[in-house]
Amino acid sequence: MQFGILVNEGPYNHQASDSAYLFARTAIEKGHKVPRIFFYHDGVNNSTRMGEPPQDDRNVTTRWSKLAEEHGIDLVVCVAAALRRGIKDELLAPGFRISGLGQLVEMGIQYDRLVTFGD
C-alpha cells in the first residue's frame, strides 16, 4: 500500500512529528511504500538544519533526512507556511524541498491512504 503522510506540528513541542516518523518507518519495514511526506502549519519547522538539540536527545530533522535518503522519500515543505515562518531553501536539511500545496493534494489523489499527524 502507498501511504502519504501529512505532518502538521513542529518538532519537540508536540508528539505529532515523532509519531509520523515512527509510523513512516514502521510502514516501510512492513513492506509498504511512503513516497512522499508533506509538512504543513508548524510542521515546516521539521525541515530546518539550524536546530541543535542536546546531545542526549533525538535529532528530529536529522532522523527525517536519514529516512528519506535510505528509502527515497520526497520530503515536501509547504512554501507559504514556510515563508511565513522564516524557513527558506538555504536553511533546509538534506532531503527536504520547498513546494506548493498541490503536492499535498496529489498525495490524496494518487496514494491509497493519506494519514494526518497533528491536533
Binding site: L6, N8, A81, L104, V105, E106, I109, Q110, L114
Partner: protein
C-alpha cells in the same frame, strides 16, 4: 492518455475530499491555513466537502471582527467558496447546538447533519483531512 499517465499527474482523477474544520477561526492558524488547502484542492477539480464541527462552527459565525486582536479576517473567503465550485458545506448539529448557535447565526448556507448523517457522509469519502 493511458490511465497510468493520468494517475501520475493527477489529471482526470476525481476523488472525494472531505475537510474537517474543528478549530476556532483565530487563536491558532489552523483554520486560515486549512482554507488554503481547500482552495487548492478545488483548483485540482476534486470533489470537495467542507464540514464544520466542534469549535470549527465559530469559523462561520456572523459578526466576526478581528481588529482588536490585529489578525487578518479571512471569513469573507467562506462567502466566496461558490466561485471555486465549493458548494458542499456541512455543519454538525450537536456541535452547533452545544454552542448555542443556529443556522441564522452563520454567514453562509449550510446543510445541518445529525451524527448518523455525518458518519454516512464520512464513509463515502476517499480522503479526509482534519484541521
Amino acid at each position: 492518455m493511458s490511465d497510468m499517465d493520468e494517475m501520475e499527474d493527477g489529471s482526470g482523477v476525481v476523488k472525494k475530499f472531505m475537510f474537517l474544520n474543528r478549530k476556532a477561526p483565530h487563536g491558532t492558524v489552523y483554520a486560515l491555513e486549512g482554507l488554503e488547502v481547500v482552495l487548492i484542492t478545488a483548483a485540482f477539480d476534486q470533489d470537495v466537502s467542507l464540514v464544520f464541527t466542534d469549535d470549527g462552527i465559530y469559523q462561520l459565525m456572523k459578526g466576526i471582527d478581528t481588529k482588536g486582536i490585529e489578525v487578518k479576517d479571512f471569513s469573507k473567503t467562506y462567502r466566496a467558496l461558490e466561485g471555486y465550485d465549493i458548494e458542499k458545506l456541512y455543519v454538525d448539529r450537536s456541535s452547533m447546538e452545544a454552542r448555542g448557535l443556529t443556522e441564522d447565526d452563520l454567514i453562509v448556507d449550510v446543510s445541518v447533519l445529525s451524527d448518523d448523517e455525518m458518519k454516512n457522509l464520512m464513509d463515502e469519502q476517499d480522503v479526509v483531512i482534519s484541521f
